[in-house]
């Protein structure tokens, strides 16, 4: 179990780092998809098959595509000077380092973290379905509302003024 985990973790982190540091925005998104795919792999390792595939479907199949669209819409593909470090880079890196440090410290100090893998639970999509339609039915409706609101909001925002005037 360790070897696949290491490989996938390395890929994920590498993807994430590349996504945050490459110059070309499209390359960033492509690296991001690598990170997403790695995460999906990790979900699979953790036995959450449905979530893993959902991750691929939504993040790679939809969000990455949407981001690419946004990049092309905003002419962000040309390598630009965005990488030039902002003046606040020192404070920023201090913040990042602090956050990371706190997280690692928390992980290490917690007794939970040394827990080993329990036997894999036999969960099926059907169970998820029952849970969703039973205990989580209210969140489901709320999510529905949220998605609709997001749809309308995003469309209004992204719509061209000419279209909006219609």
């Amino acid at each position: 179990m360790t070897l696949p985990f290491t490989i996938i973790a390395a890929l994920t982190i590498a993807g994430a780092v590349a996504a945050m540091s490459l110059r070309n925005l499209v390359h960033c998104v492509l690296a991001l998809t690598l990170a997403f795919a790695g995460l999906a792999g990790m979900y699979l390792l953790l036995g959450a098959q449905f979530v893993g595939f959902a991750q691929i479907l939504v993040y790679i199949g939809a969000i990455a595509i949407l981001t690419v669209f946004a990049i092309l819409l905003t002419r962000g593909t040309e390598p630009d000077a965005f990488l030039d470090l902002p003046s606040a880079w020192v404070s920023n890196s201090v913040i990042v380092a602090a956050v990371f440090g706190v997280l690692v410290w928390a992980v290490h100090s917690s007794p939970l973290s040394r827990r080993t893998l329990p036997p894999p639970p036999q969960i099926t999509v059907r169970q998820i379905g029952f849970a969703l339609m039973d205990r989580f039915v209210l969140p489901l409706e709320v999510i529905g509302l949220l998605l609709t609101a997001a749809l309308i909001g995003a469309v209004i925002l992204a719509m061209h003024e000419k279209q909006a005037a219609k």
Partner: protein, 122 residues
């Protein structure tokens, strides 16, 4: 369960190999016999026989982006719909109504968008 992941992993490796293998073969062939001869004309961008002019990576049309948004929302909807569908045979009518409401909300948004002329029309 992990067996099927192994299958997928192997399939992935083989598939990549299937793509890479011939490319490597082609590369070897090119090295051995048929040398690649790049040149300024040959490797210029094709544009109907003319020299390409103007910007290529232009900013793109917003119309498609709106589709992208609607697609994203419906893709997520599918994530919720699939577990529901799997459990459907064992569900009560009430749960189905709940799902209908969920669907209805999204359709509402779609209809609104369609009214607004987002879903492209001529």
């Amino acid at each position: 369960m992990s067996g099927s992941y192994l299958t997928i992993l192997l399939l992935l490796v083989c598939a990549v190999g299937f793509g890479v293998g011939p490319l490597v073969l082609a590369w070897i062939w090119a090295k051995a016999y048929s040398p690649e001869k790049p040149g300024p004309y040959k490797n210029a961008t094709y544009e109907c026989g003319l020299e390409s002019k103007g910007v290529v990576w232009v900013q793109f049309k917003a119309e498609y982006y709106l589709y992208g948004i609607v697609f994203l929302i419906f893709d997520v909807e599918a994530i919720f719909l699939l577990p529901f569908a799997v459990a459907f045979t064992g569900l009560t009518a009430g749960a189905c109504v709940a799902m209908l409401v969920f669907l209805f909300l999204l359709v509402e948004g779609l209809v609104w968008a369609s009214r607004k002329g987002v879903l492209l029309s001529t």
